[in-house]
Amino acid sequence: MNALSITFTLNGASVRVEIDPADRLLDTLRYRLGLTGTKEGCGEGECGACTVYLDGLPVNSCLIPTYQVRDRRVETIESLDPGALEPFERCGATQCGACTPGVVMTAWWVHQHSEFLQTHTIRELMAGNLCRCTGYDGIVDAVADSLGKR
């Protein structure tokens, strides 16, 4: 195991970490940097619970080697403004909460890129985030609500 030292921008601040080349970004965030808001659901890029932004794009952090984010920009759930989440609270977008940070990250990205709603439905755009509790209505309603579409 060769430790590598890399730097990247995390939630607006520069961080330096010693990593193994095989480390996943998800584990670096959770176990090295203490940002446990990002959850592991499946570890193979199916469920979206570990969604973070890499250079502004939502990605599954379980599929990203930490080495790949050197000198790049990563944002996690901890960077979002809780004040923007009121529709999610009101519409019942969270139940058990294990998928929720990933759902919120994708939903917020959709909110910031609402031009995609001209070509895609909310249900299509949210299909990369599995939820086992809500049946999705609470989530879809919250996204629509936050976009003023309800």
């Binding site: 199916e46 086992r132 209505d137």
Partner: protein
């Protein structure tokens, strides 16, 4: 009121077991059997690993009985020289590095001398496959009402059918996990679970510790659906054994692959119906045989079987009913609790069978249900008189109206006739779900709840019932606040820590709101009495009295308490399986509209309506969310969630090839409630959590039958299964209705 912990969950601040800060701990892992049955002849440790760096536990390290205490004492904590299913735990390994422990598990070879496994619960076992009793029957139960043989002999029409349902994986988004450590001489285990006192019982039994030396703490639980009812006891024991041997804190978290492969699933079932009918469709006799796959140990299968057979005849009046149920031993990974607990399996069969009857007799499926639906004063299969005043026909009529059932059913033939590749159909299911433990179960549990008065005049609710997404924290807050006239901010809910909270029973069986919630109300009443107030005192008066009590009794604890009392008039005889199986039933009719693509045989649910009567709805957002989530889980079970088996173990134990519905696979779920307050439930509520998974599968499969003319009897009705059926249906056949 909004969900109490919503903001913590939305911001990622909620800490689940794997999020808790922990220093100097070991990662634990489980080494499992590679074979379904046989004697363990050797355990080989690879030579290129320095095993002195690892903590290793086997069955000889268990201080008490090598048994996971539940109903029967047949399931070992760790296999002692003999394995009965693939993935059965044999060894435990721990190390500070998670990667090192993963490599170590791969470097241990469990050698098994194979013996013939029983792998198909539907087949009678061969003599060499017998491993439980004389016939591999784990449990047998019978319900008898009237004289079925005589009624069948005189029935003008008999319709028979056989139906099968597959296993289902829970896929709670948070996988299972536990942390164990020693605090002085007290063993502390915390983690994701539904039933803290089940875990206490299991730890006491296998680790030979008294209750004072075991403390179990539930951490925020990322979904359960029954999957965290009995199984967490295993992980708790494993983590505890490693912690006791190493003297260190041990964290044991399953990854998704291990979780799907090694933990419980919904019992597969086979149900046969033989139904005697009048020509107009009135039920004269129901003869029903239910067989479920229990897997390799008894676990909860007898109780699942019980709920399965009690619900098997459906919400219909019939004077002559015989239901015979068996749970079979097989060398499969044991099946376990899953939302609905046997009732979805038998109600799929029953409601699909109703449509088969309707087609056979050429009667309208709606009218068939209408003439047979239980009226007040009539009895269920166990002889329970239904007299709750619920207008069950109104539930059905509301569902038909909201779904535009009749209009769409009239329009579909034209759509189907003009469309080359798409077929649409409507289907419905009428069903019920008994809330709380069956029969005398609640009496045996003797659940207790406390509501403590805090020095600041606020109150704290102490129970062992947990939040796993279904809303316990919010509903208990609302109930306590409403009872005492307090602001919800004056109410806190204690963490389910067995060193503090009384045993209010498990968080299962749709019992938390209805039964434990009413204990919260009564414990609040008791608290008010103890501070010298009568039952009319509310709000500031209560708050001031509690604060005053504390000033007058410095350093003392103040709490009100309530324990379960059977509502009057409920009688159950477990020997004859006669009587009042449940204090209350919730009633529902669900309607599905599907579209089938004849090229791919893919079925899409394009519209879904769920109408139910669940007593008083306490929190509309939470209640709607329970229904929508249950329906979508039911859509998955009906159409896509298929466990592929290899020697009794799940071969597709990944979310890549075990598919659950995404937001784009399902329509918006239309939900409506009729409310008929239940006098013995908290705030008038009945149980709700499980009901919604009983109805989707039969409604959807009935709709596919209506759309295609096919006659599906097995779920999941995957594209492959429907394609095979369609090969026997002439293409171009229009809707059968």
């Amino acid at each position: 009121m909004r969900r109490r912990e919503a903001l913590a969950k939305l911001t990622g601040r909620e800490q689940y077991v794997d999020d808790l800060p922990l220093d100097g701990f070991l990662w634990g892992m489980t080494v499992r059997s590679p074979a379904p049955r046989g004697r363990v002849t050797a355990v080989r440790f690879a030579k290129d690993v320095d095993w002195s760096q690892f903590v290793i536990v086997d069955h000889r390290d268990i201080p008490g009985a090598n048994v996971v205490a539940l109903i029967e004492e047949d399931q070992p904590v760790l296999a002692a020289g003999y394995v009965r299913h693939v993935h059965e735990p044999v060894l435990l390994v721990a190390h500070p590095s998670r990667e090192a422990v993963r490599r170590a598990v791969r470097a241990i070879d469990i050698v098994v001398a194979p013996e013939p496994p029983a792998l198909d619960f539907r087949l009678a076992p061969t003599p060499e496959q017998i491993q439980y009793g004389p016939d591999n029957v784990l449990k047998q139960l019978k319900i008898e009402k009237g004289d079925v043989e005589r009624a069948l002999a005189h029935a003008p029409v008999i319709v028979s059918g056989t139906y099968e349902t597959g296993a289902q994986e829970h896929v709670y988004l948070e996988t299972q996990g536990m942390i164990a450590h020693l605090d002085g001489d007290v063993l502390v285990v915390k983690g994701s679970m539904q039933c803290p006192y089940y875990v206490v019982k299991a730890l006491q039994h296998a680790l030979a510790r008294d209750e004072a030396h075991v403390r179990v703490i539930q951490t925020p639980t990322g979904g359960g659906f029954g999957g965290k009812e009995e199984f967490p006891s295993h992980i708790a024991l494993h983590a505890a054994l490693l912690a006791l041997k190493s003297g260190r804190a041990v964290k044991l978290i399953y990854d998704r692959g291990e979780d799907m492969a090694a933990t419980t699933k919904r019992h597969p079932a086979l149900v046969r119906h033989r139904t005697g009918l009048a020509r107009d469709g009135r039920l004269l006799a129901q003869d029903i045989e239910v067989v479920i796959d229990g897997g390799a140990y008894v676990t909860l299968s007898p109780v699942v079987l019980s709920r399965a057979i009690i619900h098997a005849a459906g919400p219909y009046a019939c004077d002559h009913v015989r239901i015979h149920g068996r749970a079979m031993f097989t060398n499969a990974v044991p099946f376990g609790a899953f939302r609905g607990f046997g009732a979805p399996q038998t109600q799929f069969a029953g409601e699909r069978h109703m449509d088969v009857i309707a087609r056979t007799l050429a009667v309208d499926p709606v009218e068939l249900r209408r003439v047979n639906l239980l009226r007040d004063g009539q009895t269920t299969a166990t002889g329970q008189v239904i007299r709750d005043g619920t207008d069950r026909l109104a539930v059905m009529d509301r569902a038909l109206a909201l779904s535009h059932y009749h209009e769409k059913r009239d329009e579909h033939p034209a759509f189907n006739a003009t469309n080359d590749v798409r077929r649409r159909g409507m289907g419905l299911a009428m069903f019920y779900h008994g809330a709380g433990f069956t029969g005398g179960g609640e009496v045996a549990l003797k659940s207790r709840v406390r509501v403590a008065g805090r020095a600041d005049g606020g109150v704290e609710v102490l129970s062992a019932n947990i939040e796993m997404g279904q809303g316990t924290l919010t509903v208990f807050t609302e109930l306590a606040a409403a009872r005492l006239g307090l602001d919800p901010d004056d109410v806190t809910i204690a963490q389910a820590d067995t060193s503090r909270v009384p045993n209010s029973g498990p968080t299962v069986a749709s019992r938390t709101t209805m039964i434990v919630g009413s204990l919260v109300e009564r414990a609040a009443d008791d608290l008010r009495r103890r501070v010298g107030l009568d039952s009319t005192a509310r709000g500031p008066t209560v708050k001031q009295a509690i604060a005053r009590w504390h000033r007058e009794h410095p350093g003392k604890e103040l709490f009100g308490e309530a324990s379960y009392e059977k509502p009057p008039g409920i009688e159950w005889d477990d020997k004859s399986y006669r009587g009042d199986a449940y204090g209350a039933f919730a009633w529902a009719t669900y309607v599905a509209e599907v579209e089938v693509d004849l090229r791919t045989c893919a079925t899409r649910v394009i519209d879904f309506t769920a109408v139910q009567e669940v007593g008083k709805v306490l929190n509309p957002t939470l209640a709607r969310g329970q229904v929508q989530g249950g329906v979508v889980q039911g859509i998955g079970w009906a159409l896509m969630e298929e466990c592929k088996w290899r020697e009794g173990a799940m071969a597709n134990n990944q979310l890549t090839n075990y598919l659950i519905p995404t937001s784009d696979d399902v329509p918006a779920i239309r939900v409506d409630f009729l409310e008929n307050p239940y006098p013995h439930g908290a705030g008038g509520a009945k149980g709700l959590g499980e009901l919604p998974i009983d109805g989707p599968a039969p409604a959807i499969v009935n709709a596919v039958a209506a759309a295609t003319g096919a006659d599906p009897r097995v779920i999941p009705l995957t594209t492959e299964r429907l394609m095979e059926l369609m090969e026997s249906v002439e293409f171009g056949v229009r809707s059968a209705e």
